[in-house]
């Protein structure tokens, strides 16, 4: 059984079919990429899976149970974490605190426990702080833990976002263009990190423009064009698919 199963999902905005009857599956432990030209519906599909939009038609199942209609925080609670195409860090908070917000689901302390600073809340806090520090270390930015997150460089902000997404110990992470704005060296680092995220047992679904990244690390690649899926296979076959070549490079005749 696939971990994530998207079947016949459609989403319309006014007259535009942003996503039209798209189906795909992500097996547990896999790195799967969604690619396609701008406006192909990749981010819309992400937003449908993570509860930011609800589909007009179709079904989304995660670990065998329906997911569509659940608001973002419930989707997160089911074990799906995400990053954003346009970095969405929390301003006015340090990198460490940003990642600690990612631990929210793993904590229990409520208003009263927080106000009274009770022992269980203190213990939880210490544990979350430690875990957040480990993740910053994993992303290679441990030294920046105390810096205000939004004042970091673009690449560092991406790293904080990824650490934050991993902080909830998710089953699956959705990465929306994680290499956007990164230089070649940073992209290569990112590829290694995504591979080691998978080694930790986290399934990865990513939307990406950077072909070298996608083809290098993905087990499967699904290609979207104008809201429809035109290919879905291993990277090598997708690269040879005539329809994909046409969409990406245009007809040779013209």
């Amino acid at each position: 059984m696939a971990l994530l199963e998207v079947s016949g999902v459609s989403k319309r905005f006014g007259g535009v079919h942003a996503v039209n009857g798209v189906s795909f599956r992500v097996e547990k432990g896999m790195i799967k990429a969604l690619i396609g030209p701008n406006g192909a519906g990749k981010t819309t599909l992400f937003n449908l899976v993570t509860g930011y939009f609800s589909p007009d038609a179709g079904e989304i199942r995660f670990a065998g149970r329906p997911l569509q209609g659940a608001p973002p925080h419930r989707v997160a609670a089911r074990g799906i974490s995400r990053t954003f195409q346009h970095i969405r860090l929390f301003p006015g908070m340090s990198a460490l605190e940003n990642v600690m917000v990612g631990r929210h689901l793993r904590g229990r302390a409520g208003f009263l426990a927080g106000m009274l600073h009770v022992r269980s809340a203190r213990r939880e806090e210490a544990r979350d702080r430690e875990r957040a520090g480990e993740l910053l270390d994993f992303m290679g930015i441990a030294a920046l833990a105390g810096s205000e997150a939004t004042s970091l460089s673009y690449g560092q902000q991406r790293a904080v976002e990824l650490a934050r997404a991993l902080a909830s110990d998710p089953e699956m992470v959705l990465l929306d263009e994680p290499a956007a704005g990164l230089n070649m060296r940073e992209t290569a680092d990112l590829a290694r990190r995504i591979a080691s995220i998978r080694e930790r047992g986290v399934t990865v679904l990513l939307v990406e423009h950077d072909m070298s990244l996608v083809m290098g690390i993905s087990d499967e690649v699904a290609v979207l064009s104008y809201g429809e899926k035109i290919a879905d296979a291993d990277p090598r076959s997708v690269q040879k698919d005539p329809q994909v070549v046409r969409v990406y490079l245009g007809d040779e005749e013209c």
Binding site: T50, Y52, H73, A76, R82, F84, F111, G114, H117, A121
Partner: protein
Amino acid sequence: MRLARYRPVALFLAAAVALELLAVHGGKGFLLTQLTMSAYYTLVVLGLSLLMGYAGQISLGHAAFFAIGGYASAALTTWDLSAWGGTGLVKALVAAGALAARRDAYGGPVLAFHPWLACACAVALALLVAWLVGIPVLKLTGHYLAMATLGVGTIILSVAVGTEALGAADGISGVPPFPLLFGAAVGGSAAERVVNYYVAFGLLALGLLLLSNLVDSRVGRALRAIHGAEDAAGAMGVDTGRLKLRTFVLSAGMAAVAGVFLTHFNGGIGPSEASIMKSVKYVSIVAVGGMGSLWGTLATSLVLNFLSLRGYFGSFDDAVFGGILILIMLFSPDGVLSPRLWRAARAAVLRPRPAEAPAAGDAPAAGDAPEDVR
């Protein structure tokens, strides 16, 4: 490490003691009255600061929650139930110790709810109203939320003015002192001025301690996350709607507690406490103190409320707070204590004005270039 956390609150209490000694030994003991009142208003403002600065929600109706607390406690402690003394319900209440017999200002016997019970009911009522109002209203954002909370404030004000049992335009007077431990009471007698000052500042310090703990906790981080990037907070599993509602209820509860205490301190409450201008005043103080800065809000609130209560702004009191709000929004939306404003002010003072800057011809040699060129 653990103690360092409580240092700011301890310093605040020490400052409060110093202020009291200064006022009493300087022969200005009467100032304690306005300082006490200003501490209670600051409690309202702190709660609002949590809501506005941390959860990112505005409320233009917070005076309503203060008034609900004050009015409910005033009504329950002044409605005389002696006429129903024979009924089973009143007898049961007396037996349960819920009612207290006393004499009013003219020596007549009064049988009314005990202030402790009245206080509990008043705060519970405010929490309930905030919760009921908050469920639909907090689905709104930005100026829609401001409008809706303004509407809530208007309703509570007109209920206060229009209800005979609540004294209509006159409000409720003759509210008894609120007995605390060791014979002390929250009330207006000059003999208890110092005690009341410490009760108010102690309550304020407690509020400050609880809120500063909260801000630095799991919930506090989630609130700041909502304020900073609500959609991303949702993706982290933060139930944004629920946290906003709880924060709203908490801040309404703080306003209600302040309302109860100040009403017993003053011996009464009038509809002006529920007025829209009061709500605007609270909002403008939070704005001056800086959104998301409990300490900044504390300082500005104590000062501004004290000046206002001492009548320094005369008949232009509302105008002063309206003006402050405009100036803050125009020039320093982060408040007067924001680092950005201070940096800008320092730069304006330290940097020579363009007119005084050296002309291009006599620019310094490359060797002694000014710092900011390098």
